[in-house]
């Protein structure tokens, strides 16, 4: 075996016999600790460069072999007396990824001291300052870095982030736009979109996300965010397209799954939606939104018990989400558990006091609990908050009619007809049928009682033949009548509307997102029947919730 030193001397003239017999000296020993006499007697040892192992440190660092990297850096720092800028730089990077921000910051500052002209060190210091929440100092550092080098994408983007934290949104927007002009990065697109959403500029947000999607057509985050925005804008077709795209690239993207699933639910594809949700359930089993959606799928499939258990899980996971409480209330109404339904509705109102349909649920519950006066008040409140909700109108109408207030019922029905003539409001078929029957009954006026009994009998026969037949106003009416008799008004507490009382004492948390459009909650009279459109509202509600992450 020939050693290199022997032969290089013969091969290349310039290689001197620097280490003929003196084997390669470990660098640490080369000067300081080396036996000086020996060096003096022969030649001065070749001095290793400070940067000689930078590449090795780098290749271990990029493989995330941090342990090996750390010991290597220690050796290198001992060898160079702490003067190796790159070694310290990498050590600081590793500390940062370990979460030791402050220590990492100190090391970057050491780097800056070694080489004050390197803008990278300054940028890293600034980045650590951002992580420590010192945005103003970070901005100063970035400006300093700009002086040292050029103002590149990174500086612009991070400055934008700083300004965003400092709530100087205009400046932040400018920085992000500048960053995009310097370099296209998906991160910048999504933070800029978030910024626009924060300023309620949905249109601009959609535009910027569209640009981002054009730039990186396979970026699932951008696709999902854009899809959700379209969903919020009710351009469902485009939303579904984008979400589907996102799902083809990443079939386990749970945000996209939830949003796409809610659209499927909207179209009644409960089974398809459920299969999609199964994937998400493995990924994020603790998502309350997911369990809410699953529950509403079951509800759509008439599996009420499963739906309730899923909703209860959702409620356990996020007890302050009024939409889950709303759905729980709805389901309990369906199950004829009016007391529970009342409790859930009143809790929901405590959290969200300005949502009309919630009061309607409460009213339906109260009416079934024999609290007609309170129910009336709740209906009035619901009408006051949202007089254009077809479900509220119909339910109120039924309620008034059952109380014998045909005059007012006819008025309300008139409102409903006005509403249903308006093309912009979509009204389900079931509601129409009920309204038809109602108008028939109300027009007859005095004869109603007699007629009704006939209808009832007729219905009962039918009902025995088809187990769960078409919805029947009569059945509903019948029930109401029976209950009115069973619960004499004397038992009622004097003029105390319990839910309103709760309402005044509990302040609604501001964290809940505002509801985009009034979601027509289910007409409880329909609940007793087969109602294909039931979950339609819930997925939508889901989707509004879902937009929240975008807006954050």
């Amino acid at each position: 075996m020939s050693t290199h030193s022997e032969t290089t001397s013969s091969g290349a003239g310039e290689v001197k016999a620097e280490s003929e017999s003196e084997h390669y000296q470990p660098p640490t020993l080369s000067v300081a600790a080396g036996p000086k006499r020996k060096i003096k007697a022969r030649k001065a040892a070749k001095l290793p460069s400070i940067e000689r192992r930078n590449w090795l440190i780098h290749s271990h660092f990029i493989r995330k072999e941090f342990d090996g990297c750390k010991s290597l850096i220690q050796e290198q720092l001992v060898e160079t007396n702490g003067q190796c800028e790159y070694a310290i730089y990498i050590q600081a990077l590793m500390l940062r990824s370990d979460g030791e921000i402050q220590q990492s910051l100190e090391l970057f500052q050491a780097c800056h001291q070694i080489n004050p002209k390197n803008p990278d060190n300054m940028k890293q210091i600034a980045k650590n300052l951002i992580l420590l929440g010192k945005h103003k100092s970070a901005i100063e550092c970035y400006n300093h870095a700009t002086d040292l080098g050029e103002r590149d994408w990174e500086i612009c983007h991070c400055l934008g982030v700083c300004y965003q934290f400092l709530k100087q949104l205009d400046q932040a927007e400018q920085c992000f736009l500048e960053a995009l002009s310097k370099g296209k990065h998906t991160v910048t697109y999504s933070v800029l979109a978030k910024l626009y959403l924060e300023q309620q500029e949905t249109k601009k947000a959609i535009d910027i996300l569209q640009k981002g999607v054009d730039f990186a057509p396979e970026n699932t985050d951008l696709l999902t965010s854009l899809g959700l925005l379209h969903l919020r804008n009710e351009s469902f077709h485009r939303a579904f397209e984008l979400l589907g795209q996102a799902l083809t690239y990443d079939p386990e993207n749970y945000k996209a799954i939830l949003a796409a699933g809610s659209l499927m639910q909207k179209h009644g594809d409960f089974d398809v939606a459920l299969t999609k949700y199964r994937v998400a359930a493995q990924r994020v089993p603790e998502s309350s939104s997911l369990w809410n959606n699953i529950a509403m799928c079951f509800f759509g499939k008439k599996k009420n018990v499963a739906a309730i258990s899923c909703l209860k899980r959702a409620n356990y996971l996020s007890p302050f989400d009024w939409r889950i409480l709303y759905n729980l209330s709805l389901l309990h109404l369906t199950m004829q558990q009016y007391a529970s339904a009342f409790q859930f509705a009143s809790t929901a109102i405590g959290l969200k006091s300005d949502h009309g349909p919630l009061y309607m649920l409460l009213a339906v519950g109260l009416a079934n609990l024999g609290q007609d006066d309170n129910a009336e008040q709740a209906y009035l409140k619901a009408m006051e908050l949202n007089s254009n909700d077809p479900h509220t109108l119909i339910n109120y109408c039924v309620f008034l009619h059952n109380r014998g207030n045909s005059q007012k019922a006819a008025n309300i029905l008139g409102n409903f007809h006005k509403l249903s003539d308006d093309k912009s409001v979509s009204v389900e078929k079931e509601l129409f049928e009920i309204s038809k029957r109602l108008s028939a009954v109300l027009n007859v006026g005095e004869k109603i009682v007699v007629e009704k009994e006939k209808v009832e009998k007729h219905r009962k026969k039918k009902a025995t033949k088809k187990t769960e037949s078409v919805s029947s106003l009569a059945e509903m009416e019948q029930q109401n009548h029976i209950e009115e008799q069973a619960a004499p008004s004397g038992n009622l507490k004097p003029k105390k509307l319990a839910p309103l009382g709760t309402l005044s004492s509990v302040s609604s948390p501001s964290t809940l997102p505002p509801l985009r459009s009034p979601m027509g909650p289910l007409n409880p009279s329909d609940l007793l029947s087969q109602m294909p459109a039931v979950p339609e509202h819930d997925p939508e509600r889901r989707s509004t919730k879902h937009k929240q992450p975008v807006a954050e």
Partner: protein, 620 residues
């Protein structure tokens, strides 16, 4: 790092087969057979768990070193990282040659340097700031990268010190100020080592030692690759492309060893990918430590930013016109040469190394990605076509012709083991991905609680007695509210709270008890909670604290405490001595402290202090 073990015995155990018959003679191989099903497309040719190799993808090459068509495996071994750096040549399963290296090898390439027949390539090892050229496995030439210019001030200082004009201390001071002015990377290593010395004596010795050594500032080679010079044939003459620590790229002629061209990029190069011919036209992609990839072209000296990535580049390969970049954040992304992203995949584990799989016989190129979960994923475009399971984390990968077998994968593992696999000739890598369709979790059942009898019973009960349940509940709720309100009102009326509700006398009172008895110290903290406004500082004056207690159990001194004027926002602490005088039973009672205003029969604030059980008096 496993210690170097060069015993031949362990190597000879496993046989090398240059045809595609797997060898199962060793125990290791037998063990591996159990896992064999995982690698359906690959034959296990060789596995040496004690090879003790520490190397990177750039330090492995497969080359026909003797010109006999039998390709050898060249590994530049970093040894322990400090010692035992070697260049090893393997033929089949055995090491046929080992040459010691003086410094850490950065990379190794094989190049054809001349036109002599038979065509034998030279081996070029980059190490430190030099290239060591071997021909026929004999050292042939050493090329040093051009030294950088030394700062004139620095040169002057050393020159003067040589003559003896400058004493050691002055030299150190002057060099230190130079270092602060420039960065230490701008100075020679001689200077930085001199500055490191602590004692005067050492420094003198150092100056003496290095008196006659010319001052040199050397840079370090960070990466190496080759480029064909004027013809594209496999055995055409190439030139060497070097990436240097001072952010330069040098193209070095292999015949004359002169620099043909220099480029400067804005970061320290890590990986260079070259296409084209030097004499005709070429394009280089240079991945740098600043996370950027730069494009260099023959006709322009400017480095254009091709990609600005958010993460560090671990591997970069070019397939036809696409650039495939593996990054530290586990993404594996394809870009056009203009920098437009085509697709991006996320790997299940950290990416350790990549190599290109150029299957000439079947005419496709794929990228092999070594992951930290011991797997090598093979991608054709964005489609995962195969997964190779290795015995450990792959440290370096190399695909090419080894021996007489065209498609061989050589992997150096993190444990230092060397593994060689041969692609079966029957292996078909289709254009589409292996795994399509829904993820497996879609078939898992949802975890939904079953309905219990209790649930059903409760439901039925509520349906039947809903109204009563509701009314009872409302009734109880109202009763509770009334009770609470009454208690609260009572508390307010009698000022039993430790917080004052009187806007004129905003006070807060809290108390702690120290001691185990019979002597206690009661510390009252009283704070004026009025908002301090500069115009109207509300001082509270004329307040007194009195205590209510059972005089059979405690004595309290002072019994009445006159408070000074209370300044807003400053907590005042007062210490009161309490003695438990009830000796017969373990006494435990409540002391009530009132803050009172003169002329007012009602206390402003009340605090109930529950005293701890007192220890008995120790009678001596």
């Amino acid at each position: 790092m496993a210690a170097m073990e060069t015993t031949n015995g362990s190597r000879e155990k496993s046989d090398w087969t240059d045809l595609n018959a797997p060898c199962v003679s060793t125990e290791v191989e037998k063990m591996d057979l159990d896992k064999a099903d995982e690698n359906v497309n690959w034959l296990k040719a060789h596995f040496d768990p004690v090879a003790g190799v520490y190397s990177f993808s750039s330090c492995i090459a497969l080359a026909d070193l003797n010109g006999d068509g039998d390709h050898k495996l060249v590994i530049a071994d970093l040894g322990t990282g400090k010692y035992n750096m070697m260049i090893k040549v393997l033929k089949g399963t055995s090491v046929v040659q080992e040459n010691t290296l003086l410094d850490l090898p950065t990379g190794v390439v094989s190049v054809y340097m001349d036109m002599t027949e038979p065509r034998t390539p030279g081996l070029v090892v980059a190490s430190g700031s030099g290239l060591f050229v071997y021909k026929n496995m004999r050292p042939y030439y050493k090329y040093n990268v051009e030294a950088l210019t030394v700062l004139p001030e620095e040169q002057q200082l050393w020159d003067q010190s040589k003559v003896g004009n400058v004493d050691v201390a002055t030299l150190a001071d002057a060099l230190n100020s130079l270092k602060n002015e420039y960065s230490s990377s701008m100075l020679t290593s001689q200077t930085s080592h001199f500055l490191k010395l602590s004692s005067q004596e050492e420094a003198k010795q150092f100056v003496e030692d290095y008196k006659n050594v010319p001052l040199k500032r050397e840079t370090v080679i960070t990466c190496i690759t080759t480029m064909k010079k004027s013809m594209a044939e496999d055995d055409a003459i190439s030139c060497i492309v070097l990436g240097l620590e001072n952010k330069e790229i040098h193209i070095v002629d292999c015949e004359a060893y002169t620099v043909l061209h220099k480029f400067t990029v804005h970061g320290v190069p890590v990986i260079i990918n070259v296409s084209g011919l030097f004499d005709v036209d070429f394009r280089m992609f240079v991945a740098c430590r600043n996370g950027c990839v730069y494009t260099l072209k023959k006709d322009s000296d400017n480095a254009r930013v091709c990609l600005d990535l958010n993460s560090q580049v671990v591997g970069m390969e070019r397939i036809h016109k696409c650039l495939v970049v593996a990054m530290m954040d586990r993404t594996f992304t394809s870009f056009t040469t203009k920098g437009r992203q085509l697709w991006s995949l996320e790997m299940p584990a950290d990416i350790l190394c990549t190599t290109i799989m150029d299957h000439k016989a079947k005419g496709f190129k794929a990228v092999m990605v070594g992951l930290s979960n011991n797997e090598v994923h093979i991608y054709r475009d964005k489609n995962l076509v195969d997964t190779v399971k290795l015995n450990d984390r792959p440290q370096a990968l190399c695909f090419g012709r080894y021996g007489r077998e065209d498609s061989t994968l050589v992997a150096v593992l993190a444990s230092g083991a060397l593994q060689v696999l041969i692609l079966k000739r029957t292996a078909e890598y289709a254009d589409h991905s292996l795994h399509r369709g829904p993820p497996s979790s879609q078939y898992m059942k949802l975890n939904i609680p079953k309905k219990t009898q209790l649930f059903v019973d409760q439901t039925v009960r509520e349906r039947e007695n809903g109204i009563e349940m509701f009314q009872n509940f409302q009734n109880d709720l109202q009763m509770m509210r009334v009770n609470v309100a009454e208690m609260y009102l009572k508390g307010l009326q009698s000022s039993m709270t430790p917080l004052s509700d009187d806007p004129n006398v905003p006070l807060k009172l809290s108390a702690t008890v120290q001691g185990i008895g019979p002597m206690f110290q009661l510390i009252l903290t009283i704070e004026n909670t009025a908002l301090p406004s500069p115009s109207d500082a509300k001082l509270l004056t004329d307040l007194k604290v009195v205590f209510k207690y059972l005089d059979k159990v405690y004595t309290v001194s002072p019994g009445v405490l006159s408070l000074p004027a209370l300044v807003p926002d400053i907590p005042y602490k007062f210490s009161i001595q309490v003695e438990c005088i009830a000796s017969d039973q373990p006494a435990q009672d409540t002391i009530t402290a009132f803050i009172v205003k003169p002329d007012n029969t009602k206390p402003v604030v009340t605090a109930n202090i529950s005293m701890p059980a007192s220890e008995g008096v120790v009678v001596v």
